[in-house]
Symmetry: C2
Subunit: 641 residues, 2 copies
């Protein structure tokens, strides 16, 4: 192990392709009265204990502690939910400074469950399945599960170095990783679910042990050779349809594609492989260009959890799995570090406030697996596949602990930096330190437009403070120590770059104007034609049944019969209490449609219905009140039907 | 057996709820130079031999003839494909008057394969599965398969009475049906896939043996009690979520729901059960009102082959299984007979020329399983689930032989009647006889607007000739023996009812005007907002890549970038050769969209692109040329984006 305390999630080596330097976990503290810091606090007090409780209730923990004869419980990869919760616990232990009892207990369980050769998987250690170890890789998720164990260990030594449980889990993970190197180091095989690639590259980063990186690279290259067969959904489901280097665009199972690309970026960065990095960028961009929802969510098909065709983006049947949003966040973070391209930071922000945040209830203990952008009146929400409300757990519970580990490590994603300066990518109140520089950030972003950055600590000579100007922002105002300063001219490649001899107490005030705006989709997105979405700053808004007018001209109009008046203007309201600090009021017109024929010959103009203002709330806050219909894309009232 | 030669697919008994009387198979001959008769001829010379060949190639036949030790091939309900093809062969034998060698061979196979107690299912007779007979009804399709055997037998004695193979298959089917009565006559169980209900009711109709009807009724009542569990997709997948009588609307797996409702109508009609009939109508109407594609297709979800929510009708991900269209056709035919409501005849027509006809290639030997209304540029059509072109066969091959049996029996659905008159529901050239009356029909419908009906045979006193006036038709012209006659006043409940002392040679000329029209969807159908479809008569048209202009202002414009000019008029062209006798030319405007951002702030008006006329073809003829994108719903050019 080397240098672990000075590195964040990704630590490029000398020859690396790396534009930005991540920060160690200890470099950033998010204030708990901000939205991001508040999420971290909620994660610590609600989500993480909830996950631990659910792992107990659903047998995940007893799978590991069971004596011979006890029945195995849950999915065959249920260990991975333990590992992800363990990772979250380690991030949280490092953040709070308190050792995690759960981490200690699980570390002991894992140590006891591990086979002498390093193998650890309670499903395939069950006497009934032991004979199938490594024998059904298209299906087994064995390396996927191993990958999450390794990621827990990496988080442990990054976030809680010196912690006894952290050291213990790292030893367990290395024994398993050494077994993988021994078993697969010269093999053409791959796992049906990518994940171990990024885990092994990260393990290399914290240990310096090259065989881990070499195995990750081998697994990347082994893909696309058709070794896993077609299965029920075709080779793309397993990410085995085409080599990463030559694939023209994303395909197949979204989470598997994204996890694979995260591993590809890690390997490319560590080995200086520009071709592989370019392939990962090309694939990621192909998703962002034509297969991504307004919320950053990806995955248009329930059947095989797949991307779907270009521009196939149905709001109602959006799959947009929570894990896919997290996978995309991890991928674009890696691409941001590798390339410095602000578009990837913009994508992180979009995902965080929309596609990811919607996955979890305001109380932190209920979750969406799929994240539709529309729920219809009459929706049958009785199934896990497309419930009407968030559920406390799932039979396949990959998403809840994935949220827990992301939220617990959120502070590691907000900034990068080094001796030459700091780059702020995501705006949350708190402090950021790197390269000897420290700044204090105060903001109620994304509710408020104002961000105040104060230089703290001793003077450190000349350095550059880089503040991201989001792509959605067309009006930036800047003042330094109370004096207005020109902003536009100092924006280079999406960042306001302020270079000077910063003095303690210097105060930078940045205003990112957030007038609510109407956004429309590319004309090829058939499913959103004739509609617009309300967006303010980075936050997508939605119309939810709980906000339908109870009096006035629009009282009683069903959600489906409200249309946006495209000519009128949008207003916002601030709230000191309630579900959302900011709501957007939109002028809408009722259309009377119920009971009409399903199809009719196109004819005369329609008469206008009653109109009025309707409240919309942030999409990520929907489904926290009574269950009912919701929509992000709202029909634009037209001059004729 | 009683009266079998005088009855068509459904024969109500005296106490029956029945508005119309079906005709025996021998009562109608369709001329082969018309579209319907041509389909029957193609079915006889191409589709049926193709199905027989495929059954041989895929092991369906050897499953039945296998000696101990041979491996079972295909799906566990593969026998049903044999039974459906056998049914088609019997219909065809009756139509052509030639005995079917295939029917004789299969009858011998079945006789040999049947267990002494009557059980017959080559999967569950396999030594490996024999112990599971009747033990996994949620999954086994055992009664579904038995139902198709029974339907083959019913077709045999209806279409080819006296044929040795027909009598043999009827005996085999009755032995199995008797076993079902014995095994399930006092049981609460049901099959996970409805089908046997309608088969048993039909078997009662041709045998008069009441226990068959009682068992069908019992199976209807047993549903909705939750005896099959939740499975992967919930109880609605098995049609076990709610009793038929109380279910407010259709739900779950489309084919299962439709087959169940067909059985419910049969039972209701035979037992005089008005409540059950009303329930079937209510459920059917709930599908037609908000869950049916413009083509008559049903099923919006690939994942569980389900209806989906109200107004959830994505054109691109339309599942619209061919078997569902056939199931809907059989259901609305039964409701037409029971109620006489013309809307069900309209639905039969819509299904026939669109949702059903699109399932089969012009050469009769390739088939769609799912029938999307849009195929995008960039579609990954490599999987059976959503191929770019029709396939010659499927791993689950339910649809091809279903088409074969429907096409072979098509003549039994075009008319009803008795001594008081004839009712023509579907217009195809040929002859229709019933109640002593005979008419000769000449028409090139649906290409031509003109239908000529000539009274043939001896004078039979006063009777009523009823000619359906399709719901889409707003301009009807009539002449009798060359003299214009008032039409509108004689249209009662959707039929032009002409009562008189018809004389041999009397000639009725009916003109159903078919100007092409722009049809729009209900505003709640989000997936078709801002678009229109081209329809002429009963035929839905589509824009297919093979018809994109190769020269002129629109040359090179991708299909996705063409928009309908809503202000200009549509024209038609007749063709004596080529894929379609009639094409519709529509004025379209190009939009330049490729490469733009996926989402953008709504802003200024767009500049108009080049415009020109584009050819569209009947939807059911698409995918008979080079594979490429297609769409039914075409964006309407708007004044602003």
């Amino acid at each position: 192990m080397r240098d672990i305390e000075t590195h964040g999630p990704v630590r490029p080596t000398e020859q690396a392709l790396s534009a930005l330097r991540p920060l160690p976990a200890s470099a950033v503290r998010l204030a708990r009265d901000g939205l991001l810091g508040g999420w971290q606090a909620r994660n610590a007090t609600a989500t993480l204990p909830h996950c631990v409780e659910q792992l107990g209730a659903h047998g995940n923990l007893s799978n590991l502690s069971r004596v011979s004869g006890d029945a195995y419980a849950g999915m065959w990869f249920a260990d991975s939910d333990v590992h992800k919760t363990l990772e979250a616990a380690f991030w949280e232990a490092g953040r709070s400074g308190d050792a995690s009892a759960f981490a200690g207990e699980v570390a002991a369980l894992l140590e006891k469950a591990q086979d002498p050769d390093g193998y650890l998987n309670s499903y395939y250690q069950d006497p009934e399945h032991r004979g199938k170890q490594w024998a059904e890789l298209h299906y087994s998720h064995e390396m996927y599960t191993a990958g999450h164990l390794i990621q827990a260990a990496v988080a442990a030594v990054r976030s809680a170095p010196g912690d006894a449980a952290a050291e213990q889990v790292m030893s367990i993970a290395r024994r398993f990783a050494d077994l993988l190197v021994q078993r697969f180091g010269a093999s053409d095989e791959v796992d049906g679910h990518p994940e171990v690639e990024t885990a092994l590259a990260e393990l290399y980063r914290v240990t310096g042990h090259r065989p881990y990186l070499d195995l990750a690279a081998r697994f990347i290259e082994n893909r696309g050779r058709g070794v896993l067969g077609e299965g029920r959904f075709g080779a793309a489901y397993f990410q085995d349809h085409e080599p990463v280097r030559s694939a023209p665009e994303v395909a197949g199972h979204v989470v598997r594609q994204l996890y694979l690309l995260a591993g590809a970026v890690d390997v490319a960065v560590e080995t200086g492989d520009r071709e592989l990095l370019a392939a990962a960028e090309r694939l990621c961009d192909s998703a962002l260009d034509s297969r991504t929802y307004l919320t950053g969510g990806q995955g248009s098909r329930h059947r095989d959890e797949a991307f779907g065709d270009p521009y196939e983006l149905p709001p109602d049947r959006a799959y947009a799995e929570t894990c896919a949003a997290i996978g995309s966040f991890q991928l674009v973070w890696r691409l941001l570090l590798a390339t410095g391209d602000v578009k990837y930071a913009d994508e992180m922000e979009r995902l965080l406030y929309n596609g990811i945040a919607t996955g979890i209830a305001v109380d932190g203990t209920a979750f969406f697996y799929s994240n539709p952008l529309q729920l219809r009146t009459g929706h049958d929400g009785s199934h896990e596949d497309a419930p009407s409300q968030r559920l406390t757990w799932y039979s396949c519970a990959c998403c809840p602990p994935n949220l827990a580990r992301l939220m617990a490590s959120l502070h590691t994603y907000v900034a990068t930096g080094g001796p030459d300066g700091l780059q702020l990518h995501l705006y949350g109140g708190g402090t950021v330190s790197a390269g000897g520089h420290t700044v204090d950030v105060r903001t109620s972003y994304p509710w408020d437009e104002q961000i105040t950055v104060t230089v703290a600590g001793p003077a450190t000579g000349a350095w550059t403070l880089a503040l991201r100007v989001p792509g959605w922002c067309t009006n930036v105002r800047l003042s330094i120590n109370g004096s207005p300063a020109p902003a536009r001219g100092q924006i280079v490649d999406g960042y306001l770059r302020l270079h000077r001899m910063w003095q303690p107490g210097d105060r930078i005030e940045l205003l990112l104007a957030m007038p609510p705006r109407l956004v429309i989709a590319h004309p090829r997105v058939d499913a959103s034609r004739g509609t617009a979405a309300l967006v303010r700053g980075p936050v997508v808004y939605c119309l939810e049944s709980a906000d339908l007018p109870e009096s006035g001209p629009l009282a009683g109009v069903p959600l489906e019969d409200l249309e946006l008046d495209p000519g009128a203007s949008l207003t916002i309201a601030y709230h000191s209490a309630g579900l959302s600090p900011v709501t957007v009021q939109a002028p809408m017109i009722a259309r009377i449609s119920e009971g009409g024929p399903l199809y009719r010959t196109r004819a005369a103009k329609r008469r206008a219905g009653p109109s009025g203002l309707v409240t919309t709330i942030p999409y990520f806050l929907w489904a926290n009140r009574a269950a009912g219909p919701m929509r992000v894309w709202i029909p634009l009232a037209a001059r004729e039907a």
